[in-house]
Symmetry: C2
Subunit: 623 residues, 2 copies
Amino acid sequence: MDNGQNLGSRQYTVRILSDEGHKDVTCYGGSSLMDIFRQNNIYIEAPCGGKGICGKCKVRVRNGEVSDMTHLESQFLSHKEKQDGYRLACMTGILGDTEVVMENYLEGAQIMSTGIEYSVDISPQIAKKYIELDVPSVDDQRDDLKRLADALKTEAPEAGIFLIRRLPQVLRDSDFKVTVAYDGNKILDVDKGDTSDKIYGVAIDIGTTTVVCYLMNLITGAQVDVISGLNVQRTYGDDVISRIQYTMENIDGLSRLRQGIGNQISELIHGLARKNHIPIDDIYNVVIAGNTIMSHLLLGITPGHIAAAPFTPVATKAQIYNARDLDLSLGQASRVFVLPHISGYVGSDIVAGILASGMDRSEDVSLMIDIGTNGEIVLGNKDRMVCCSTAAGPAFEGANIRNGMGGISGAINTITLDGEKLRYTTIGDKAPLGICGSGIVDVVAMLLDLGIVDETGRLLDEREIESEVGSKLACRLRKVEDGLSAFTIVDEGSSGTGGSIVITQKDIREVQLAKAAIAAGIKVLVSKIGREMDEIANLYLAGGFGSYIDKRNAIRIGLIPPELQHRIIALGNAAGTGAMLSLLSLAEYERTNTIKAKAEYVELSSTPEFQNEYVDSMYFESP
Amino acid sequence: MDNGQNLGSRQYTVRILSDEGHKDVTCYGGSSLMDIFRQNNIYIEAPCGGKGICGKCKVRVRNGEVSDMTHLESQFLSHKEKQDGYRLACMTGILGDTEVVMENYLEGAQIMSTGIEYSVDISPQIAKKYIELDVPSVDDQRDDLKRLADALKTEAPEAGIFLIRRLPQVLRDSDFKVTVAYDGNKILDVDKGDTSDKIYGVAIDIGTTTVVCYLMNLITGAQVDVISGLNVQRTYGDDVISRIQYTMENIDGLSRLRQGIGNQISELIHGLARKNHIPIDDIYNVVIAGNTIMSHLLLGITPGHIAAAPFTPVATKAQIYNARDLDLSLGQASRVFVLPHISGYVGSDIVAGILASGMDRSEDVSLMIDIGTNGEIVLGNKDRMVCCSTAAGPAFEGANIRNGMGGISGAINTITLDGEKLRYTTIGDKAPLGICGSGIVDVVAMLLDLGIVDETGRLLDEREIESEVGSKLACRLRKVEDGLSAFTIVDEGSSGTGGSIVITQKDIREVQLAKAAIAAGIKVLVSKIGREMDEIANLYLAGGFGSYIDKRNAIRIGLIPPELQHRIIALGNAAGTGAMLSLLSLAEYERTNTIKAKAEYVELSSTPEFQNEYVDSMYFESP
């Protein structure tokens, strides 16, 4: 027996203390606190899904035996926190009876995301009911389907052919005692005996870079587990435009991209089911959020006409399919709900984000920005919402940046100045491989503060820097290929790639273009609804980038309006949260349609005001 | 160039005269009159579908050049008719300009079946509309589906994934001028340009023995063509019970039977499409009538529980599927409407038959009998209908009869006595291979009239016959295997099989059992609704058997109540007619649900009165 199995064979009690009182739960030795919380329907903030990279799942271990702190975990905790016994739930294994204190204890039908609390009635599209049917006799020759519909009190039952084919066997194998999964008059599945407590769904956020699947218990509303992977379509291009090109230049391109993401989703869901010992047939609903192009590719619909003016998608309304119609190898009864898009460049990920933010129900005017592959911006309140997309995001995802990379393991995510010493952290505490969005914001803000980059965005030359800042940092300046000026963040010897990691003059120009586009987009929308910047009550930042950036630095480089400095709320994976809410509640799902109907899309390319604001926003503010 | 091609290259004019006036149509030389009528939307009675075996499509050729009369055709025409120029439309080829007189001229939205006229509003489930969409622009970025839905004035369009995938290409290839096929808010198909006049459907009657497909023009209501074939499932058993057994005794039995009939239907429809130069994608709707077991097998649903008490079907309600869900290789948009059944042994063929008879809308009480594999009986009027099934039919389909066979080529279908000479006809004028239902009725009636069979059903011995009838027929008596008495209809030398064709004592017992069951079923139903036999206004005979039997002989053997002798109406293929009506009109389709809801099924096996009536009906009436 290895150690893992040995640990696994012992059970311990974990007492969870909160404002609400305490709760004792049992677990197998070696389980992480995060797993224990999930299994027991206790929510804790975990925007990274429990990978130890966001540091949000802090709990205080008061007594008991737990695993040692790793170096990775220790980075997220201050000296004081460590003294007080704080740990990250996702990194802490239980090795004996333990007592933990949660500062944000949420039980039942609530999802905690970054800073926002959700209370939602668990009323998914699908319900399950255990029923005992009358056994057929010569005096009661009703057919099987009618017998079932009568027991369900459904007048005009709808049932797919696969269910009807299985029905007679299931009824007779179970002595006519069955559990029915249904959606209104649609009978979706019939199980032998009472399985009315086994009903699961998966909410999926298909990002251009990352695919995240949340396995949800549709009875309790609990998030059972989460799994993510890099979008396999990345082999066909990092950004949406290169994937669209692939579909247009290759006869089977669309089909390949469709199969790629379809198989990936099927595999991720099967993985979740296996790991959590849930039969795949107990997963009834899948809710999909994603940008319009990812959604088109999943459905096998050409995104080609989104790429060029007038940027026309094929379909933006909410769509419901049987999983098999999309060639997803899920349960026979499984249905896929594709959330609605607003336009070709404002997709259901943004609709789900609006849902997660709640801005569509508030009197307050809120601004939401999702800086990912594109920078989508939404402004408004319950009465009116306007939105736009700026083709300006990729710089903050590391695209078009010499040493840029996505927010994955090995990316430099924070850069600070400690006196004259430049310090950085990397995701996963790995040797640095490149720099991701939050690191780019930090380094540009730092260079502006130091005067190494001037307000026009020019990187000063070595001589200028020496006179302005001092030699220690001046020596970080160098020329790379084609005589391009660059500032060194990590030298060859310290990087994980063997090359230096730099930010070039060209990179700074990319940042200028991107931040100008977003700043201009915000201004256009503010003017569109006839408000002032200061009237905006909340600035919601969606996506991983929004959780990790240094807000002060984001304002410094002009990405975020300074008026909103103290009104910033990071939503974490708002698309994922919105998808989960839509999965748990039919009312929330229907809200996505209301949001689509309410949101007015502004095409910036045909808005002259945008060009003016764009040019005006190009420079940086003087220090 | 052969003669056929030579003929085909010349065009002639056919003037069709009727009470309504005249109509001139052109045709290629060699076309049959039946083809010309079909192509020009002119209906003529043709229960056999134009095979020259029913003799119903009589027309008078007044002038012109037509093909010579064949021996087969000549059988159906009296001497007087021949003198007057009568021909069968299906057997008469046009060889020059011709003038024909039709006694029953029906144009447009009317279907003529045996003796009953139908007038139906052409309003199928599916409509087609030509629309010119606005071309997308930066000021009008509506997605393709929304653009289409707006043009159709449909709020919440539903469209399958296959259509959505095709949509962008079709719109752009056609300059946004398209024809939409839709059913309410369901968008089923989109064609380039204006194809609004190309919309077809197929009505199918899946019989245990024969499958008939009617290709219908859903704009004009015209029957374009008809095709039929023997049900390929016959290789798994002639009757429904043996097919059910096959599905229960073989692990892939159900799947084989399903694929067999599915492929057959696909092939028949493709054959119709090819022959009539109609793209398969222009066939949108398929309506299926058939007995409950044939329907279960087509859908791949086990019919196993119908075979034994309490005879429970899996599903009897009307069902609508995409053709691809049933693995039918039809157009992507094609939908299959499976008509509703009443019970395990009263199927949608009977529901369609009721529809065709109109008995469900009449004040008059009518009786309908369909003597096929089972003998289904329906009695009632618009206020109430009762029905039952007697497991007694097969004798009249030739089953369990020593030399019995279905009503196909080579079957003896009429037997008459010409003095002391026994005469018979065969279907297709072939050398006789066996005897079908109408022939069996004729021979038993004849033997009863001659006193060769007594009222108890006993076949007299040779000596008794000689004293009663005379030597000429007595010599037809013989012993077959196991000393079984038999009466010879055709001797070895004259048959097409090389063996004699006889009716045995055992065959006569089968006929007694069958006719007793039907007679008893009728009595039970009449008593059930509290009426007298004489109050029945119409006796509808459904199915081929009903069209061909000699009514007097059917009464003679006790199959039909003598009170109804002059109220008999042969419906021909009532199931096919009902399916056609349901295909042409949504209102008629919905009427099948009303019929199902109204019809009360009487389970004879649990009705003690049936047993008494059955025994009472066993003997024949004395001459």
